[in-house]
């Protein structure tokens, strides 16, 4: 089967071809040659979707909750994209993407698209990857995009920073309770969800969250709301979706946030690209190998080695600039 061109895929996804969308996402994820141009071509068709980030510790029932939220929005006439993130194995590079397993109820609903993504490791690459995939879903007409993460790595917090609304999920019965939530999560959360709220200890979790919010001080935004839900039975879900919907609409208004987000994304793209170029440049020839050998033998320290490599790099750049 002949491979489709980028244009064909963009055209396809815009008219609702699931296969084209899926293939486009794969190419973007793998940074297939031409991906930046493809994203540039796609960009004008984006901007309608609102991104809702759902994070929290494992065992909180995020996947079930995400599924319920998606179903709820779909019922209200929205088209929903779900990006479910799971960690890649640092040893093999593979991943077990098992969030879909909890989304059986919505996996074949028209107007809902579920895509599982692995963190694939380093350099904050996930944040950009998820943003790009969200844009693809946006261009394909999905106007609510849920990004569900694991909530145990720094990457996950990064992803969630890209979202318009961030919901943090907690559950009763987790030993360390709310205190264990990663530093930084309290700051980024727009609202909290206490899932499995039928269980013993739910009230305590709500109290703990309020306590931590009070400690964090009043940022002028007012206290974030806390929703109690039971994803299995559906209790509290309608109220939650109403609130999320409202927040999603409001989030467009904050110029400050938009500025911070754009700044972060541009910088991240630059950093990522620079890092890639440095690695590529250094991997040709043996300058890097030589430097590493010297450090290994103890003839040089890593700081000096890095400095001299960077100096070389600057020299190369200024040489090439002269020739332009």
């Amino acid at each position: 089967m002949a491979e489709q061109s980028w244009d064909e895929l963009v055209e396809g996804l815009r008219v609702g071809e699931l296969r084209a969308l899926a293939r486009f996402i794969t190419r973007i994820e793998n940074r297939y040659p031409g991906w930046q141009d493809a994203m540039k071509a796609l960009y004008p068709h984006t901007g309608r979707a609102r991104l809702l980030g759902i994070t929290g510790p494992p065992g909180a029932g995020k996947s079930s909750l995400t599924s319920r939220i998606a179903a709820g929005f779909a019922q209200r006439g929205r088209r929903v994209g779900i990006i479910a993130v799971d960690p890649s194995s640092p040893f093999s590079g593979g991943a077990l993407l098992g969030d879909r397993l909890r989304m059986n109820d919505v996996s074949t609903k028209a107007g809902i698209f579920i895509r599982s993504m692995a963190t694939r490791g380093s350099l904050g690459g996930l944040c950009q990857g998820a943003r790009d995939v969200a844009r693809a879903l946006d261009a394909a007409g999905y106007d609510i995009i849920l990004i569900e993460t694991v909530g145990v790595g720094q990457d996950e917090i990064e992803v969630v920073k890209a979202a318009d609304v961030v919901a943090v999920v907690c559950v009763p019965g987790q030993g360390d309770g709310v205190q264990a939530l990663k530093a930084g999560i309290m700051e980024i959360a727009d609202l909290f969800i206490v899932n499995k709220a039928d269980r013993e200890g739910a009230d305590q979790v709500v109290a703990d969250i309020r306590g931590m919010l009070a400690l964090a001080g009043d940022d002028g935004d007012g206290l974030q709301p806390i929703f109690e839900t039971n994803a299995l039975s559906g209790a509290g879900i309608e109220e939650l979706i109403d609130a999320l919907g409202v927040r999603a609409e409001q989030s467009e208004c904050s110029a400050e946030r938009a500025d911070a987000r754009a700044r972060e994304e541009v910088l991240m793209l630059i950093e990522h690209e620079l890092a890639l170029r440095v690695r590529t440049r250094l991997s040709s020839g043996c300058r890097l190998d030589d430097a590493v050998e010297r450090v290994r033998k103890g003839e040089d320290d890593p700081y000096s080695a890095a400095e001299s490599l960077l100096a070389f790099f600057d020299d190369v750049r200024s040489e090439s600039e002269k020739h332009e």
Partner: protein, 137 residues
Amino acid sequence: MSSDRKIRVLVAKPGLDGHDRGARVIAYGLRDAGFEVIYTGLRQTPEQIARAAIQEDVDMIGLSVLSGAHIGLTKKVIELLREQGGGDIPLLVGGLIPEADRPALMEMGVVKIFTAGSAISEVAAFIESRVVSAVSG
């Protein structure tokens, strides 16, 4: 094509059969072989399997059946894939598949049958070779 390209595999159990030891072992094994495994677990309908395969743009679908309902279920999955534009996604079947049923499955378009207890390395190698030849073909 970036060398970072990950191979994505869907591991699913169609039908009501609840014996998922084999499916779980393969899922872990393929993960440790560097694949991205979308594990959808028990009680998948053919619709759910086909939809997942397409949305996740997998390189291979692995069905695990031990209840004897493999012929009907596999047929339905393949039909739905074709209908939804995913007819080119290869499908392999593992589990309890009597000899007599294997020709029928191969004729439907199944690319390989792995009997229960097949080595993970065998399955991984097979999938990898299919992906490589699909890319270069």
